[in-house]
Amino acid sequence: MDAESLLLSLELASGSGQGLSPDRRASLLTSLMLVKRDYRYDRVLFWGRILGLVADYYIAQGLNEDQLAPRKTLYSLNCTEWSLLPPATEEMVAQSSVVKGRFMGDPSHEYEHIELQKVNEGEKVFEEEVVVQIKEETRLVYIIDQIDKAVAIIPRGALFKTPFGPTHVNRTFEGLSLSEAKKLSSYFHFREPVELKNKTLLEKADLDPSLDFMDSLEHDVPKDEETGAQRLKPKDTGPGVSRWRGATPWWCCAACSGQASPSTMLPAPRTMATSMWALVRRTWTCPSCYRRRQPGFLNTAS
């Protein structure tokens, strides 16, 4: 959630039971301002929190002008001092995907993973056990990356793309109406499109290239039924809230242990469980807290 509208967004996202204590909130507001100044970001988003055994990580992301460009991720243990995380590489992904269990809360903690590697010595082929050490920081990067790819969403119309390339925030976006908010097709993944190019020309003909340049949620597997969703009241809309929509899922997953089993990082079914309040509340589930929904899940996913 945007640093400027942090308090409001926290109120709205409290339906899932996770929140911040007043001291954390206060310190967040202050420190995020400083981060924005120091790193010269256009926008700073509070991504969420990953719970660890000893300590919790608070994650923030900084964005520049282009919304879809890779974001810089920062983490902090006490909401006052922020450290930059390296961007995720494929090597990191491969390595960290084997680690399971909770986060420790100590960034320098190292997980040990035993791998069998084939070592060629002359003509013989050995299988040696190699202990691979994976730092928790790496794992953190990997997890954040996975969660972003899977669950970060943004409503349709909040961003638009210009012919020159960069995507901008749509200042005229006022939120979705009630009927639109109930549909999965009004939401996009907040990342570079993966499936867009696989669409047939017929499907693409209906899309508006300035608005529909990301993957829509409705093609995610497994399909899920629609649930009730609430309309944003006009006064709640605006740039802050639209971004909050995208930021909310990060909230939820942050409330969990932050672990994600990489082997089953299936795109989680989208659910919009809402409560019937005048303000919008949304709770999202992310793949890390959502394993197989039902035993039959396996069949549909495969």
Binding site: G15, S16, V54, Q259, M276, C289, P295
Partner: protein, 717 residues
């Protein structure tokens, strides 16, 4: 005489169906470009005036169309006569229709007198425009119309639908003047009750809503006739069918105004309405002061706001306004049910809706009524099963060929715990949102707990949703929810060491088989543990709910102990079951064990402790978070503590959830020679066998003959 000939012609044109005829009649009656209709009506109009008390009215004969023509009119007038019925607005102004049967029996005579005036009134009301034409068109003596008038039958009069008077016909009333008024008053007959009753009955019948939708026949006819009367199509009868359909369609597809937006009936508005009720104090505002005094006393409703404040310090919990609404909802629950103690247990998130869970304890003796009903049902089922077994045995003995009996016996059902003990110590009420009614969850059975441990399903938010899983869960979502609540409570309800202590009566320890004491009470001397100490060591916290054994209960029950009924019936079958399986008694950690003895998850502590604010430790609160059940929190500060659960209702597992595989296919029957498959002998083999048998037979015969001959020879000698 121009009127007479056309008159009879016009009537036969009317179709047999009452409604349409009346519809068309009314249009006729409106005098729309149909002087034909006008004529006969006027004709009829005069005779009633002249023959107000003609005895001929008493004749009741089957009706010609004319009567049906007059029926609605008569009816309307009757309404005016009765006086008690108000004319509501046009669309709903149907006078009630009596059932045809009772009416003629009851008040024929009155009706006869009444109808004339009714007709008169109706005619006058209904045909304002015609009055002007009266003089011009009325020519013939009203002989034939009168005769037709005589052909009254009241039971046909009141069939069919009718409109209330149209406003534009009200000017007609001015014409009626004193005559009408005179007639009205003189005919205010005593005994309107049977008539009224019949009328009301008929109206109630028509007002029944259809099964498929909310529309009732009454309303539909009102709509239809209004539409017809407004539009005045040329040939209404032939257009009737399509009009009927259009009217029905329009009911369900309201017209959208292109210029103005209809305000959306959003679900938020409905929800706000329901929650508004929460904010009004029960009992009305007039007794303000008295209520204030009563409420200041003890209520079982907990101080949610205080708890929410402390949890907020810990970074847990719902927002302030939601907490307040929960508080009001709990207050509502306390008012509705006989509750002794109440606690907000937490919130379980669901896919479509969430559940707010309240943990309550009823006052003594309040909840046993429902329990008995459930038990009776169960016992009935058991008895039926017993009978079934007996019959089965008898049948089998009679039959010569035994159907092989299955050797599989279902495992014995472990009885559930009594209410107010063990896993059923508290009652749980759930609701989806504050403001919605609270639903009580049933008690949990051990089988449900055992199954709940094997599956992992998200809650949809609807209590009657089925749980489709393997192994099949015995119950629906309400049962699964209750089972999860039981597991979470057993695992995560903790309190600082010393807050609870065992009561001093310890004599029961042996009787319970060493299962431990199961009751505790508050320690009045508890002085609180400093926050830092609470954080440091898990030994400062204890569980105050009983651990649930693998069996699914808190106290162990030996399943191989058979009840008396089973022993009587199953004696024959028991022989097969001999060799009682030795079931070990399951023992769990006793009450009030410290958390330091909890099992670890993958070498990690099952609990995480925090100080709520590291910057000001002197005012902060100790927070404990469960790693086993993500979402379970507890805080303690001084003498206060509280537990809460806000989460999805699932246990943490480092591995992904893999559902249980289905059981291996069971053996159908042991194979034996009787059912072993062998190839049939071929024809050659059979013949060879036959030949061999014949040879053997022939050989034996020869031997016998030989012997006989020898014997015969011997005897001969």
């Amino acid at each position: 005489m121009g009127d007479l000939p056309p008159y009879p012609e016009s009537l036969p044109q009317q179709p047999p169906s009452r409604r349409s005829s009346q519809a068309s009649e009314r249009r006729h009656s409106r005098g729309q470009a149909q002087p034909l209709a006008a004529g006969p009506e006027e004709g009829r109009q005069m005779p009633p005036d002249a023959q107000h008390n003609v005895p001929g009215w008493s004749q009741r004969r089957s009706l010609s169309q004319q009567e049906s023509f007059l029926m609605p009119q008569a009816f309307q007038a009757e309404e005016a006569r009765l006086g008690g019925m108000e004319y509501p607005s046009m669309n709903s102004g149907f006078p009630s229709e009596p059932q045809p049967q009772p009416y003629p029996e009851e008040s024929r005579n009155q009706a006869s007198q009444g109808t004339t005036s009714l007709i008169l009134q109706r005619l006058q009301q209904g045909q304002g425009g015609l009055f002007q034409q009266l003089d011009s068109t009325f020519q013939e003596p009203p002989v034939s119309p009168l005769n037709q008038f005589n052909l009254y039958q009241t039971d046909q009069i009141y069939e069919g639908a009718q409109h209330g008077p149209y406003r534009r016909d009200d000017p007609a009333l001015q014409f009626s003047g004193s005559e009408l008024g005179f007639l009205q008053y003189s005919n205010e007959v005593p005994e309107p009750e049977p008539l009224e009753l019949a009328v009301q009955n008929a109206k109630a019948y028509l007002l029944q809503t259809s099964i498929n939708c909310d529309l009732s026949l009454y309303e539909h006819l009102v709509n239809l006739l209004t539409k017809i009367l407004n539009q005045r199509p040329e040939d209404p009868l032939s257009v009737l069918e399509p009009l009927n359909r259009t009217t029905q369609w329009e009911w369900f597809h309201p017209k959208l105004d292109t210029l103005r937006d209809d305000p959306e009936m959003q679900p938020t508005y409905e929800m706000a309405e329901k929650q508004k009720a929460l904010f009004t104090r029960g009992g009305g505002g007039a007794e303000g002061e008295q209520e204030m005094e009563e409420e200041v006393g003890e209520t079982p409703v907990p101080n949610i706001m205080e708890t929410a404040f402390y949890f907020e310090q810990a970074g847990v919990g719902l927002s302030a306004d939601e907490s307040f609404r929960i508080f009001l909802a709990l207050k509502q629950l306390v008012e509705q049910q006989p509750i002794h103690t109440c606690r907000f247990w937490g919130k379980i998130l669901g896919i479509n809706r969430s559940y707010l869970v309240a943990e309550v304890e009823f006052r003594e003796g309040e909840e046993e009524v429902e329990e008995e009903e459930v038990e009776e049902v169960m016992e009935g089922a058991e008895i039926l099963e017993a009978h079934g077994e007996e019959e089965g045995e008898e049948d089998e003995e009679k039959a010569v060929d035994f159907i092989p009996k299955p050797t599989w016996k279902p495992p014995p059902v472990i009885p559930k715990e009594e209410s107010r003990s063990g896993a059923n110590k508290y009652l749980y009420f759930v609701c989806n949102e504050p403001g919605l009614p609270w639903t009580r969850l049933p008690h949990v059975t051990p089988a449900q707990i055992v199954n709940a441990r094997k599956i992992k399903k998200f809650f949809t938010g609807y209590l009657d949703a089925p749980i489709v899983s393997y192994p099949p869960f015995p119950g629906n979502e309400a049962n699964y929810l209750r089972a999860q609540i039981a597991r979470i409570s057993a695992a995560t309800q903790i309190s600082p060491l010393g807050f609870y202590q065992f009561s001093e009566e310890e004599g029961d320890e042996e009787e319970e088989g060493g299962a431990g004491r199961d009751s505790y009470e508050e320690n009045p001397d508890f002085e609180g543990i400093p926050v830092l100490e609470l954080i440091d060591s898990m030994a400062n916290w204890v569980h105050h709910t009983q651990h649930i054994l693998p069996q699914g209960r808190c106290t162990w029950v030996n399943p191989s102990q058979k009840t008396e009924e089973e022993e009587d019936l199953g004696e024959e079958e028991e022989k097969a079951d001999e060799g009682p399986e030795e079931v070990e008694q399951e023992v769990g950690p006793p009450l009030l064990t410290p958390l330091s003895e909890d099992a670890e998850i993958m070498h990690l502590s099952p609990w995480t402790t925090r100080v709520s604010c590291s910057l000001c430790p002197q005012y902060s609160v100790a927070v404990v978070r469960s790693n086993l059940w993500p979402g379970a929190f507890a805080y303690a500060s001084g003498k206060k503590f509280e537990n809460i659960y806000i989460g999805w209702g699932h246990k943490y597992s480092p591995e992904n959830f893999n559902p249980a595989l289905p059981a291996p296919i069971q053996q159908e029957y042991p194979s034996g020679p009787a059912i072993m498959e062998m190839s049939d002998p071929t024809v050659e083999e059979e013949q060879a066998l036959k030949a061999a048998q014949e040879q053997v037979l022939a050989a034996t015969e020869e031997e016998e003959e030989g012997e006989e001959e020898e014997e015969g020879e011997e005897t001969d000698d």
